[in-house]
């Protein structure tokens, strides 16, 4: 392709969206949204949770049918009745939650997703085409690897590869970097730039501003409406945030210097296996004090989930010891963890923290149904539960039609707030929060941070794991980095930089020469 041709193509509008509206019952998720994507650009869809980013992209991908509005691809009006139609027109999507068969190999996953496979599969041809795509875009994946053995980052490459293999020219990535190390996410952007240099286009759905700043243009959504589309080079983080939230947001949480309190949680030599029987924690040890936030940095899948589950009694501890206020609580039951006032915010809220079919008020008391505040003589006291739920809804600004609304219909952020309201209420000593702000709006994240600091000031011991290094750095008194089931070290806040944390998260040890060392390695 000549450079002139490419230029013409690059100028061409790849996708034009005109006044798309999508309603769910009475809720207008996308309200007559219009924007366009130029060929060869990285176009960000930025917005808070529930702003309609995901719904809008699902309309572009044919998963939802818009109630009104038009979609033009390369100037031609299109309407799809299913994602298959969208794929056949060169639109590919990488979902936030991967849709891979865990027990299959990379190549099987990619080829089985194509309907040209038929009854027999010609893997040799596929391998050749895939190798071509990989070398063109510098994607490194072992085609024969079994998906469950791959890191989240590697699974992401597989998803992208699959979309490209299916002939995608317009790639929609839904929050792709949620589970990546800073280094992996940089790599992702390198791949994206290679893809766009090849006259393909990328729509990137995100709420992370540092990623947005690497795109060509940004369309900001708020409450289902397009607020504006701007050239990235002509805008700033502050402007984007204000557009997104509709008000000014403070970036730095205010934290006061607190005297470290007494030892609350003491963990020694913890060994735990994951669901597949592999050692997920290999001798983890740490202390957690009152008035303290211990942050755990690390890419998801390095044992954080298993650590939290072992602490709340939901996962069997092979060896090691957990003490709460010097009482041995190793291998307690989840019930006794709740009764002891250990609060838990799980990473996968819909799987471990909520019952999707339950109403908002029912979920507000999940696990607390036997508390005297909510039941008497084994009978639920719905007036009290309702009052508690109503208070939670107003305190946490949960957007829901009513306390009787089905939780599964709420947006992710609002669902998370139900868990927050419940756990903040029930916790009396120790709060274990795994990715508490995952997928939340900027405004809510600010609120969660404030609450965590407030609880910390009230004498709580808080264990906080987050993939957002900004969270960890701005909130923690000490920071531990987890890699492959072990702490790479626990550092006092302020003695490590983001870059060093990134390296530690990738498993590289920091040498002592001129570098910060583990300040209080336990």
């Amino acid at each position: 392709m000549g450079s002139r041709e490419r230029e013409i193509l690059n100028d061409a509008t790849h996708l034009k969206v005109e006044r798309i509206t999508k309603r769910f019952g009475d809720v207008v998720a996308v309200d007559s949204a219009s924007f366009d994507v130029r060929r060869g650009e990285i176009h960000c869809l930025l917005g808070e949770n529930g702003a309609g980013k995901s719904t809008l992209s699902q309309c572009l991908y044919g998963f939802y049918r818009p109630d009104a509005g038009k979609i033009h691809l390369n100037g031609i009006p299109v309407s799809y009745s299913s994602p298959r139609d969208a794929i056949s027109r060169g639109v590919g999507m990488v979902h936030q939650h991967f849709v891979l068969v865990k027990t299959f190999s990379v190549i099987e996953n990619i080829v089985l997703g194509t309907h040209e496979a038929g009854w027999s599969i010609n893997l040799a041809d596929a391998r050749k085409r895939l190798a071509e795509i990989c070398s063109r875009y510098e994607i490194e994946v072992d085609f024969n690897a079994i998906i469950s053995r791959l890191s989240v980052g590697e699974q992401q490459w597989v998803e992208i590869l699959k979309a490209l293999y299916l002939g995608a020219e317009l790639l929609i990535l839904d929050e792709p970097t949620a589970a990546l190390t800073p280094q992996e996410s940089e790599k992702l952007f390198r791949i994206m730039r290679r893809i766009t240099a090849d006259s393909l286009s990328v729509i990137l759905i995100t709420h992370k501003l540092n990623e947005v700043m690497q795109s060509n243009r940004v369309t900001v959504l708020r409450k289902g409406k397009v607020v504006s589309t701007v050239e990235t080079s002509g805008t700033s983080r502050t402007e984007l945030t204000n557009l997104m939230v509709g008000r000014t947001v403070m970036f730095q949480p205010q934290r006061e210097n607190l005297e470290k309190g007494g030892k609350i949680l003491e963990v020694q030599g913890l060994k735990v296996r994951d669901d597949e029987g592999r050692l997920a924690l290999n001798g983890v040890a740490f202390d957690l004090h009152a008035n303290e936030i211990l942050g755990i940095a690390g890419v998801a899948g390095n044992g954080q989930k298993e650590l939290f589950e072992a602490l709340v009694g939901a996962r069997k501890i092979e060896s090691g010891e957990i003490r709460l206020d010097s009482e041995d609580i190793t291998n307690q039951t989840p019930r006794s963890a709740i009764d002891r006032g250990i609060g838990y915010i799980p990473d996968d809220r819909y799987r471990y923290g909520l019952v999707g079919d339950f109403t908002v008020e029912e979920n507000m008391i999940l696990g607390l149904q036997k508390a005297p505040a909510f039941s008497r003589h084994a009978l639920l006291d719905f007036s009290r539960i309702g009052a508690f739920a109503a208070k939670g809804i107003s305190d946490f600004e949960i957007v829901t039609p009513s306390i009787k609304a089905k939780t599964g219909n709420l947006s992710g952020g609002n669902a998370q707030k139900i868990i927050l309201a419940r756990e903040f209420w029930s916790t009396s000593c120790c709060l274990l929060a795994n990715q508490p702000t995952r997928g939340l709006d900027v405004g809510v994240i600010e609120y969660v941070h404030k609450l965590l600091l407030k609880k910390c000031g009230e004498g709580f011991a808080i264990l906080l794991a987050s993939e957002e290094l900004d969270d960890i750095i701005s909130l923690s008194d000490r920071i531990g980095v987890m890699f492959k089931g072990e702490f790479m070290g626990i550092f006092d806040a302020g003695t490590v930089t983001i870059e060093q944390l990134g390296l530690l998260m990738a498993g590289q040890k920091i040498l002592s020469s001129g570098q910060p060392i583990a300040a209080d390695r336990i």
């Binding site: 039951t333 838990y344 799987r351 339950f358 084994a378 009978l379």
Partner: protein, 353 residues
């Protein structure tokens, strides 16, 4: 531009759609049943007329319908409570037998006046069914035996046990020709409410059970945990519900309810056990539970409906000369249409351009 009609999933289930599709399902089921009757070569209108008359035509037939509904309500509740917890107890058939059999054993081994015997009988019926259910629960939680397999297998085992007890003449009256137990003495039968009918105390007991299970599921902390466990066992476990304990308890209650169905039938209607008398009550109970959407109050209504079909079926047999097997076929047809309608009611038709 051409407009096409297509299905779209509803964000929330709609009452009106549910009602409409249910009514349509009943109509279609009647239509399909008519075809069946037509093939057999009977007057369709006459047959349905006979059935309706037999089920609800006069007071006697209404009493008959209620009597038939009692075991179906118990077996339906057994289905409802288990399936709500996503525990697939499909051994109601065997649990009905087990309840009746333990009741019979009690009646043949103790000699008590009715007032003292009745409460014991209720306990025996519950325990009999619960023992089978609980066994499936222990197999499930201890040895990871799928409850679908174990409960179905126990259906056979219990019927063979009965068969042994009868053929070995342990439970047969001396000189008896048929494979059935001796008659239960009148003092140990469930007392009737109305002289001349078989409407016994079991009927109010069944109604009480319907409301009790309704309250258990909707208002108690246990019911709350059960529903949470059914919809998201992971979240329930993380929030303090012991999955093994829950599974065993649910199977015990479910089996016990089915067992009460057995006792109510044997001690209120048949007064003796044979292999044929209790056959099909448990499996019809599953249909009743599923059609009612596993909701206890609706199970009560569905039990009356199916009781009516069974009662009306007898009339149909006599008046229109239709085999009673047709009734079983009609029940199955209704189930299929109901299942289809409950899926369809979650969607809506939309015009797309």
């Amino acid at each position: 531009m051409a407009r096409t009609l297509s299905f779209e999933k509803r964000p929330t289930p709609a009452w009106l759609a549910s009602l409409t599709s249910t009514s349509v399902a009943i109509l279609l089921a009647l239509l399909a049943s008519s075809v069946l009757l037509w093939i057999v070569g009977v007057d369709v209108v006459e047959a349905f007329h006979a059935m309706a008359l037999g089920a609800f035509g006069d007071l006697d037939s209404i009493y008959g319908t209620c009597v038939k509904a009692i075991p179906l309500a118990f077996a339906g509740l057994a289905t409802g409570i288990a399936f709500r917890a996503k525990i697939w107890n499909i051994g109601q058939e065997g649990q009905v037998f087990a309840g009746a059999m333990l009741g019979y054993w009690l009646s043949s081994s103790v000699d008590l006046p009715g007032i003292a015997f009745l409460p014991l009988l209720v306990v025996a019926g519950f325990v009999g069914g619960a023992a089978l259910g609980g066994l499936a629960g222990v197999l499930k939680t201890r040895f990871r035996v799928d409850e679908i397999v174990s409960t179905v297998m126990m259906n056979y085992i219990i019927v063979f046990v009965l068969s042994y007890l009868l053929t070995s003449r342990l439970w047969m009256a001396p000189g008896e020709y048929y494979l059935q137990t001796a008659q239960i003495p009148e003092t140990e039968r469930i007392p009737t409410l109305l002289a001349g009918t078989k409407l016994t105390l079991a009927f109010p007991l069944a109604i009480a059970a319907v409301f009790a299970i309704h309250i258990l599921l909707s208002r108690t902390t246990f019911g709350y945990e059960l529903r949470a466990f059914g919809s998201n066992p992971d979240a329930a476990r993380f929030k303090g519900t012991d999955p093994s304990r829950m599974s065993v308890i649910v199977l015990i209650i479910s089996g016990g309810l089915a067992g009460l169905g057995g006792v109510s039938q044997t001690f209120g209607v048949d007064f003796r056990i044979s292999q044929g008398f209790l056959l099909g009550l448990g499996s019809t109970g599953i249909i009743v539970g599923v059609i009612a959407g596993l909701r206890p109050l609706a199970i009560g209504v569905a039990a009356i409906l199916f009781g009516g079909m069974a009662q009306g079926g007898l009339f149909m047999q006599v008046i229109a000369d239709v085999s009673s097997a047709i009734v079983a076929a009609m029940q199955a047809i209704i189930l299929i249409f109901f299942l289809c309608s409950s899926v369809l009611s979650r969607y809506r038709l939309v015009w797309k351009s």
